[in-house]
């Protein structure tokens, strides 16, 4: 070989300057479990762009769809309960729908980022569990700020 030029395969991550801030996909997923979608989904999007993942635009689309879908489901749920005068005892069952949607989006983003993260580790450096402290800090701070007692926060961002 005359030079060290390497052919780039399309699914290889192309990390930029923020590449060193990328975390393993399970860390943002953990943030969904302990904090909420408002931290998890933007984090996944940041990870995708910093990683230079070939699925970064799709991940962004999923995150945007996640928030829009969550809002639509929450509004729809309230509208159904109000228009059909349903007993509020059943609200617990209805609330499962937006939660399920949030879980679906989170796992979709997690699965989408697993392969690029693995390739990043193969071609660049191990990712480690960066960001874990942020999850712990947010897990303590957010409840202390009382955000979870705000029903709008819980419906649209949790």
């Amino acid at each position: 070989m005359r030079s060290g030029a390497l052919y780039q395969i399309i699914d290889e991550p192309r990390p930029g300057v923020l590449g060193r801030l990328v975390s393993q996909p399970w860390v943002p997923l953990l943030s969904f479990m302990f904090v909420g979608a408002f931290l998890c989904w933007p984090w996944f999007v940041f990870n995708a762009f910093a990683l230079g993942s070939h699925r970064r635009w799709r991940d962004l689309a999923w995150a945007v769809a996640g928030f829009l879908g969550k809002a639509a489901l929450a509004v729809g749920l309230v509208a159904i309960f109000e228009s059909f005068h349903l007993d509020h005892r059943y609200l617990g069952l209805g609330r499962l729908v937006p939660i399920l949607w949030s879980l679906l989006v989170s796992y979709r983003l997690y699965l989408s980022q697993q392969d690029p993260a693995e390739l990043y580790e193969t071609y660049h450096a191990p990712l480690g569990s960066r960001g874990l402290l942020l999850v712990i800090a947010a897990g303590i701070t957010v409840p202390a700020l009382g955000w979870y007692s705000n029903p709008y926060f819980v419906l649209f961002l949790r």
């Binding site: 070989m1 005359r2 030079s3 060290g4 030029a5 390497l6 052919y7 780039q8 395969i9 399309i10 699914d11 290889e12 070939h54 005892r89 059943y90 617990g92 069952l93 499962l96 399920l100 879980l103 679906l104 796992y107 699965l111 697993q114 392969d115 193969t122």
Partner: protein, 309 residues
């Protein structure tokens, strides 16, 4: 070295790595080669074959199409694209491509691919005929023998599978896939220790063999029913992470709905019971995969790679 000679040298080296089971090594060689010679259709096709083995199917399809754009008549290019179609379960498209290659020359490798695409469509009799045809062309082709044995195993014709595995191992005693097939047959007969030895033996020949690891995991699952549950759950989900997630989410919905209904019926004991079972299940799915992996890893520690690898 002239460009053509250099091209063939690197392709040969990549093929050698691939035959030895070192897919990552083959990819590295091809990346270097294609960095210098981006117009090599064979390089792109071979890279596609490697990427299929790593299950990087989008990239594999891109490379196979690149190979065909550079050399539309390339048999290797068509077979690499057919391989991608097979991996994506687009059996009819794969079949068409293999038939195109076979119309030009009867090659066992294309017949093997054709057999796999036919089997995916449930046309097992035709698949068997294609493999018999390949063996008529090259009676000592171990890869074809193993594929025919695997087909017989899936069709529960165990005696035929045993015969093909035995013949393949007589011809090539260290053939990883033949060892794995024999291992599965032994496991079926309850010979756990012998099956384990076959899995480890196969891993000596090809340390990256997923199928050998699957066999070893199946052996370990038989030895520990507690961790075996996780393995059976995984097998049920056919190892697809997306399917596992879907099943887990489905179970979560079922548990939460049951819990809510129990609360509405004011059966607080039942609601607590459901929550506890769900919590135990979560703890199990969190802990079991790691424990199971460590158990398999411990088993792998004393494995020494064969000199050929």
């Amino acid at each position: 070295m002239s460009d053509d000679l250099e091209h063939r040298h690197w392709l040969g080296l990549a093929r050698q790595q691939l035959t030895r089971g070192d897919v990552r090594g083959a990819i590295e060689i091809l990346r270097r080669m294609l960095g210098e010679m981006p117009d090599s259709a064979s390089g792109h096709a071979l890279l596609a074959i490697c990427l299929v083995q790593q299950k990087r199917l989008a990239a594999a399809e891109h490379e196979a199409r690149e190979a065909l754009a550079l050399e539309p008549e390339s048999a290797l290019g068509r077979m690499s694209l057919a391989g991608v179609h097979l991996a994506r379960h687009r059996a009819r498209q794969a079949e068409a491509l293999y038939r195109e290659v076979l119309a030009e020359s009867q090659e066992p490798i294309a017949l093997r691919g054709l057999a796999q695409s036919l089997e995916q469509q449930g046309r097992k009799k035709e698949a068997r005929a294609a493999l018999d045809e390949a063996l008529a062309l090259e009676p000592e082709d171990v890869d074809t023998l193993v594929l025919r044995g695997e087909l017989a195993w899936r069709e529960r014709r165990f005696a035929d599978a045993e015969a093909d595995a035995a013949e393949a191992l007589t011809l090539e005693p260290e053939h990883a896939e033949a060892l794995i097939l024999r291992g599965h047959l032994l496991l079926r007969r309850g010979k756990i220790e012998e099956a384990r030895e076959h899995a480890l033996w196969a891993l000596r020949s090809d340390a990256t063999s997923r199928t050998a690891l699957v066999l070893l995991a199946a052996v370990k699952a038989r030895q520990s029913w507690w961790l075996g549950l996780w393995w059976r759950f995984n097998t049920f989900a056919t190892g697809s992470q997306a399917r596992i997630m879907t099943i887990l989410l489905g179970l979560w919905v079922a548990a939460r709905v049951a819990e809510q209904i129990a609360s509405l019926l004011q059966a607080s004991g039942a609601a607590t019971g459901i929550s506890t079972i769900w919590l135990a299940f979560c703890a199990y799915t969190w802990v079991a995969p790691g424990m199971f992996r460590r158990m398999v890893e411990r088993e792998l520690e004393p494995v020494h790679l064969s000199d050929r690898y």
